[in-house]
Symmetry: C2
Subunit: 368 residues, 2 copies
């Protein structure tokens, strides 16, 4: 196994700029390692391959907060029964273009891939397909599922709820999840990928700051008493604020209804937080939409129009002092290109934790 | 005709708090007046009734910027040919659950009602229906179309692009429309209605401020050179900022693709601004989704879950100094109740303008 360890011993603490870290792992090796760990935790190999692929894709894209860094908590939950390693995923209710998928408390990445596959199948027949998902778990980076649609010349939309993070506007206690919203739009070469949580900053960044003991910017969060805080541990016990104030609240509510209320999943405080000591299933809900472009417009015409839009948007003159205009998804694509070539930077603490888990699960460690 | 004119002569200028005005018109009378004006501008009576109903519904809901106040510019455009009074609206392309509607440059409210009707029909058969719309015009308040779905026990989503208002993040020139986003969620009594533009403040508020000569808050807009401004006329010549910074930009782009690129409508600067002196059709695009709840979950179960969520959200303790928590749509519903009873407040300048148009169109004025 080839590893590029330039500065492992003299590693300097770098806040959440994990891009600065010097330990880099080839993606194929990291994918195999993740897969081995999941299999070690009783996940069937075909399912483990799916989940490892989604996790490493997020890490490749530079979304370290939603990639391989989540594996330790998933493994803990697979072992204590909170996540079902062998779910029987099934369609609970279906119409010609709409379905509800019951994830049987399996790994969120697995359940979400199956759900978007179903949405794509429906859209191929009906022009559009929507799939609401119940009894799932944290699904990582929402953009992966949109990429699946984009690969089929479809527009993909992906939504999820999560454990309470965002309060209703004017409230002091979290009710809604951080509720990611993602869109994927095919284009000639580089699709436009929108992926955001509805918080001012993703809770993954707060988790990472808590882990590293660094403060978070003002305006991100409230403590448990509803007061503004810059302490990430207080923020995790309190609430994170939505972007856009009351408009962000309204969007968080809309996503909670689609993913939680309508699907039969948990909603509000019924959604569990897998970092606490409980063992109840998290019962996360998702909502996916696939739109078959060719049902609405000849694909070549759509592509040509998208490329015009992309060119026009990036040609808008920059405001004084602003950086050149970027299209959503550009930064991640650049990260994926560089990380595919140079390897995925890994926080040494994470690698140690995963290697310790490997020993316990009787799986080959990443560094022998 | 009964009018409640309490203080017409001593009317005080009240900024954009049009709720404070004292001239109030019964909704049925205002609807008939709007309909007469549209018929006077060669709109067929059945179509005029639809458009008048949508306009007065927005005014009833207290959305004065998107209701009857838009009628003068619509009438101007109907007369100069920019808006087609007798459109041949037709389905341009269709799949079992998806369609493109060609609005033939008719009034946006008419085209949008036809499109949501189509989405509802598709959803009744397939569980979900999506309709992309080309060659339309400003459709007023997006929530009206979501209410149509809600009345059929469906979740409604409505999106539109509009003339350039929002720049790409870091850009100095507007490219995207203000791009409203609306959701309607059925409930036992009071549905949850989300309706927002993607700007920090609706451009309608900027138009109203320009009309009244009042400044706009800092942070809403840029002037034509990309500098922050509080002058509403400079803002209309420049750009309005999205809420949520780069996240708002990404949402504006997503809505522009769905409504403009995918539908075959205008997008970016191809969308016309009906307040300028041009006569080219605005070529606005919309996108509608209807989701049939019963396809996914027994309706009674969904309703019970929604009511639980509503009760729980409003029971979250308020932050220090904050007002009680409101659900999206509550304020509009309260306005509609009070305006149904007491009449719709009208700005005297608007009433004068409409009455002058009535004389020119040979239609009965609202005050004889």
């Amino acid at each position: 196994m080839v590893l590029h360890v330039h500065d492992f011993v003299t590693y300097q603490h770098t806040g959440w700029k994990v891009l600065n870290m010097e330990l880099k792992v080839p993606p194929a090796n990291l994918r195999q390692f993740c897969m081995d760990l999941l299999v070690g935790a009783r996940v069937p190999p075909t399912d483990a391959r799916v989940v490892a692929t989604v996790l490493v894709d997020a890490s490749l894209d530079g979304i370290d907060t939603h990639g391989v860094s989540r594996l330790p908590v998933y493994l803990k939950c697979l072992q204590n029964g909170r996540i079902n390693p062998v779910p029987e995923i099934k369609v609970a209710r279906s119409a010609p273009a709409a379905a509800v998928l019951d994830g049987d408390h399996g790994l969120g990445q697995l359940v979400a891939v199956r759900a978007m596959e179903q949405a794509i199948t429906l859209a191929a027949e009906a022009g559009v397909g929507v799939v609401a998902v119940r009894h799932s778990n944290h699904f990582g980076a929402a953009s992966y599922y949109c990429k699946m649609a984009v690969a089929r010349n479809m527009i993909g939309l992906a939504f999820s709820n999560s454990a309470p993070g965002i309060p209703p506007w004017g409230g002091r206690r979290a009710y809604f999840g951080t509720n990611p919203v993602a869109f994927g739009f095919p284009a000639a070469n580089s699709p436009v990928m929108v992926d955001m949580s509805l918080t001012k900053a993703a809770r993954g960044n707060v988790i990472l700051a808590a882990r590293e003991g660094t403060p978070i910017p003002a305006g991100w969060a409230l403590d448990a008493a509803g007061r503004p805080t810059t302490d990430p541990r207080e923020a995790l016990a309190g609430a994170v604020l939505p972007f856009g104030g009351p408009k962000g609240y309204a969007l968080a509510l809309a996503v909670e209804v689609l993913c939680g209320v309508l699907s039969g999943a948990g909603y509000g405080p019924r959604v569990g937080w897998i970092y606490d000591d409980g063992v109840q299933p998290a019962d996360v809900g998702h909502f996916f939409i696939a739109i078959d472009i060719a049902s609405l417009m000849p694909l070549s015409e759509y592509i040509s129009r998208m490329e015009s839009m992309k060119a026009e948007v990036t040609a808008v003159p920059a405001a004084e002092g602003a950086a050149p205009i970027r299209l959503p998804g550009e930064r991640r694509r650049a990260a994926a290109v560089s990380r595919s070539r140079e390897g995925i930077p890994m926080e040494p603490a994470l690698l140690s934790e995963l290697n310790e888990l490997a020993v316990r699960l009787n799986v080959a460690t990443l560094i022998h």
